[in-house]
Symmetry: C2
Subunit: 341 residues, 2 copies
Amino acid sequence: MKKAKQITANDVARLAGVSISTVSRVISNNPKISKSTRMKVLKCMEELGYYPNANARSLAIKKTGTVGIIIPATSEDYFSNPFFTESIRGIIKSASNSDYDLLLSTNTEKGEELKILQKFIKGSKVDGVILMTSKIEDECIQYLLSVDFPFSLIGSTQDENQKINQVDNDNCLAAYELTKHIIRIGRKRIAMIVGDFNLVVSKKRMEGYKKALSESDIYFDKNLLFSGSFDEKTGYKYAKQISNIKPLPDGLIVADDLVAFGAVKAFQDLGINIPEDIAIASFNNSILAKHVDVPLTSVDINAMELGREAMNLLVDAIENKVRGRKIVIPYSIYKRESTQG
Amino acid sequence: MKKAKQITANDVARLAGVSISTVSRVISNNPKISKSTRMKVLKCMEELGYYPNANARSLAIKKTGTVGIIIPATSEDYFSNPFFTESIRGIIKSASNSDYDLLLSTNTEKGEELKILQKFIKGSKVDGVILMTSKIEDECIQYLLSVDFPFSLIGSTQDENQKINQVDNDNCLAAYELTKHIIRIGRKRIAMIVGDFNLVVSKKRMEGYKKALSESDIYFDKNLLFSGSFDEKTGYKYAKQISNIKPLPDGLIVADDLVAFGAVKAFQDLGINIPEDIAIASFNNSILAKHVDVPLTSVDINAMELGREAMNLLVDAIENKVRGRKIVIPYSIYKRESTQG
DNA sequence: CTGAAAGCGCTTACAG
DNA sequence: CTGAAAGCGCTTACAG
């Protein structure tokens, strides 16, 4: 079968006996077209199965109707993380309402984000961009600000006084409350495993953790602080290390449920009991958190809402030039067996 | 800050003192440009931070360099499923190698797939399309075939004699082996929960299940066959129903780990022991399968490989007009406590 | 090896 | 309310 030649506005115009301008105007819902011609043209479009060429349209109006999603190059861990999937779901929901298409970045190598971002923007492939995470001194953010391109960020930045649109949880507060909770059940030596140190979220959570400690006059011991990627191995590895610390820490806060599972496994292998010997709490409240043999206390960050709001905000940034709006999404702490008093 | 005006090939041409045609030719790596002018133009592009406008280019050459991913409207369950994320990961990996961008469908309502598909194709937004699943009598597939548009399918179709590019596991064989395994540990009344009946994968798995039963002279009882979506609730609901069947089935095969968890929970609530009273096996081998309190026997379908190969195949379909290639991805069965003899 | 010109399929200011 | 024409930023056959 030969590929059907594309049907153009010209074909429609000819069939309808009007000019191509008129066809264009009914496409864009221009109000000064008489109802009768509109109807006629519409019928012809239907009849021919016409669909306007998006590239030509974008070229002419300088809008694409699509937004780019920049996934961090650490995709490996990122992707297997339910947080990611949930945010995308939220983005899709909102995108579908506002009728934008979604262009996914395909960066697989570290530091490629900026390259992809520029390709999207300079190539006029997108009207706006969602950043799925933020690093400290993020070059993508720098770039977006420098060209004043519409974007929204899932996460936060350090300096609040910028023109950045962002949607995030109060990660400092969440970590604070989580730490408080563990202190309240009587724990005093609380270790922490955060994500990569150059992620803003890691910084924020460390802040909250330290604040809670100092409020309870617990000395912050930097030997109890660890950083790694969001996977099982990280948890396993550090838990082994932690088990060698004398005296054994009696509490542990980790950045993600997956990391927590790794840690739990390591402790179990070593005959260390949870929560008796060491209480564990984590973030993201994935299905795993409830279902694993020792159900995990975990912070539900409401990832879907993060995604949805990020997309809504982006639309506002594109269409209404909104800049600098900060949206805080509430979280909830689910207390389970792993931090039973 | 004002938005920088877009830099065009014209600007580069002027700066380099050549014609716009020449600039265009160095962009597309046309070999009949002298090395010296190529260098000169390249330098000017660099200097201006020039990046060709993708829309203009696509319009002229009738290629977009992007492929569409059609997610089923059942996204709700689909998305939370690790299978989905893993396939996307595979797709991204391959896409990044072959330098295609990825356009995500944002259909949220049932039956919207075809509409989105047509929008992508007729609007010239994509060069090819990946279908993430296949229904029986799939209207998207019908359409794609009717216009001979390049696509590849993760999954299978019923009639094998088509010009469809597909990559899939041998789901019939997998279900067969899984059923055999459960029979081998002495079970004789084996129930099954499949996904939606109008998914091809459900059909295939039922086939394998029936084949295994009949080989062991076990009568296929259609009262032991259930169908539902890939979520916990489905498992919970049907497990309750199953628990009322006299005599109680002693084996159960389900379509996904999540469904299995739901079922396990229901059985536990009812004091039914796994695997003693009823053995359970499922598909997808998610992290959950290993970590849940009764570790689950599960089929690892190698979702990442499915995605990667689907993308590779699509590139072949686009660039080399490949049609009708069928790729089978191996699976592995992980036997765990839930089917201990 | 390089340039002038026509064309890809739309939109929109201008004129009527 | 509608049409003719110029323009969006590229590519490519044609001519040299």
